[in-house]
Amino acid sequence: MTEPCAIEAQELRKVFGDNVAVKGLTLQVQQGEVFGFLGPNGAGKTTSIKMLLSLIAPTAGQAMLLGVPLNESERIRSVRARVGFLPEHFHFHDWLTAAEFLEFHGELYGMPSAALHQRVSELLELVGLTAFRDKQLRTFSKGMLQRIGLAQALLNRPDLVFLDEPTSGLDPVGRRLVRDIIHDLRRQGTCVFLNSHLLSEIEVTCDRVAFIKHGEVVRITELKQLNETQSSVTIRATGLTPEIAAGLSRWGRDIQLDGSTLAMAVASEAVLPEITRFLVAQGAEIYAITPQRLSLEDLFIQTVGTEGVL
């Protein structure tokens, strides 16, 4: 039997009154995959996650979590023992200490107390809060709260973890920590469903990314593919003439010459040595050749457009 998908959604839809929050979400996320969920504000990302976690009921459609349909409430409840979740704008009982907070959530997972104590210490260490284990959460900064929230999502060593904007409120060190944790999770075979508006973050952590717009998936891309395909190149050289520029057209397009700087789009980076040889043969003095990959941001703007992006 093949392993079931971590997440499988079929035309999942949510309507609040007249407002269609999610039009029809269809996607499959494999186990062990780090999956990015991208879209402008108000595209329905958080609503989609909430439906997958049974926080809100879908208006229509169906979805499965680790092979279990959402509408089988008793089975889905036991599946949740294998799922972690860091909500967006994470809030908590701030009168608990860091250790008490994690123990409370671990008990809700049904973890036996000896294993839980050990896991709590491990996680406090992982998120760098060991020194604050007996401090009440009300004394924590936003970044510290985000870290303890992340620890909470990992208590049960989940097979599938939903992170809704995990780096909001974090400084660069904290962001690096989240990135490292996601890398570790991938190594351990945990599926991560990452909802973030920080494109750079998705770019460095995810295997695949779904673009969501007006409540539906408009494109799913493998990031590896993105890196290997289209790129552009900027050449800084003296002795560039319009004739030389025209001569480059056999390797690419959109050639723009501006004084000593020439920019063009190429199909693949493999053509760069040939371009270099050509330029040298034509008598140009090359100072720099800088290939530029199509960034996720370019792809995002291309796919989602700029309308509605706040």
């Binding site: 409840r77 949740r80 909500p87 704008h89 009168w95 959530h105 008990e107 909470q152």
Partner: protein, 286 residues
């Protein structure tokens, strides 16, 4: 530990950490102190006056004293009934609504627990807190009266249990509202209903006194909407002195006594309200 018990424990530790228990004890002791001083002053004043004016009839003196003690005890318990229901409403109003609006509930219901565990755990936690409050305040008033005068009312246990049942009733109704509305809206609805039942109770009393069926009917209907005032009237009926029971003249005495059926109704009301809270909370979007 079962999820319900985990939530129950969290509810109790929240009440203690957030100084709710401490505040209730400190202010409660203040109440008991004022009550005891008042009782003491009235007691010595009445004793001095009655001994001066009424030195002949020892039997009448005893009866008059007992009536005074009964009146003061019921007055104290009446105040405590109101404090208990306010406590129940305040605790429960924010319970679900607060956790929903702050979002704390999101990381809890996505654990392998039933939503009903959360409602049930909180309900049990509040029931324990209200019982402790009742023990402190009701027990304090009863003890104060007994220590100063040696008076105890009949059927004390039944009376105190009915007062507790009233606090549970209001708390449960607040929990139902809290599963759907904001904390403020919950408070408004619950105290509004309480006021309706309160005034309905007086309309019924008055109607019974002047033998007006319509007024009695209005009172019964308001008791069915929320049987809180009926529970107090039954409690005071249980605990009033035999004489005022016969005369029916004391402000805390009852002319129209709520039947045992009304108490059963209140019990069923609580169970149904709790089931409703479970159902609403289990189905709503969070």
């Amino acid at each position: 530990m079962s999820p319900t018990l985990i939530i129950l424990r969290l509810t109790l530790s929240e009440a203690s950490r957030r100084k709710i228990v401490l505040a209730a004890i400190v202010v409660g002791l203040g109440f008991l102190l004022v009550y005891s001083i008042g009782f003491h002053i009235i007691l010595t004043n009445v004793n001095a006056n009655t001994i001066g004016n009424l030195d002949n009839a020892a039997g009448a003196l005893t009866v008059a004293r007992q009536e005074g003690h009964s009146f003061l005890l019921l007055a104290g318990l009446y105040a405590i009934t109101f404090l208990s229901i306010a406590m129940g409403a305040l605790l429960a109003a924010d319970a679900l609504a607060g956790e929903i609006s702050s979002g704390t509930v999101q990381s809890i219901v996505t654990k392998p627990v039933r939503r009903s565990d959360i409602v049930l755990g909180k309900w049990l936690g509040f029931a324990v807190l209200l019982a402790l409050y009742q023990l402190l305040m009701g027990g304090g008033v009863i003890l104060s009266v007994w220590l100063q005068s040696g008076y105890t009312a009949p059927n004390l246990l039944a009376g105190v249990c009915l007062i507790y049942l009233e606090a549970l009733l209001i708390m449960t109704v607040a929990l139902v509202c809290s599963s759907r509305f904001t904390a403020l809206a919950t408070g408004t609805v619950v105290f509004g209903l309480y006021g309706l039942a309160f005034i309905g109770g007086w309309v019924e009393q008055f109607g019974s006194f002047i033998q007006n069926q319509t007024a009695v009917y209005v009172g019964v209907v308001s008791s069915l909407i929320l049987p809180s005032e009926s529970l107090w009237r039954r409690a005071s009926y249980e605990m009033e002195s035999p004489l005022s029971g016969v005369l029916g003249m004391s402000p805390f005495g009852t002319i129209s006594v709520p039947s045992v059926l009304m108490i059963v109704y209140a019990g069923v009301y609580i169970v149904i309200a709790l089931l409703l809270a479970l159902r609403i909370f289990s189905r709503r979007d969070l």
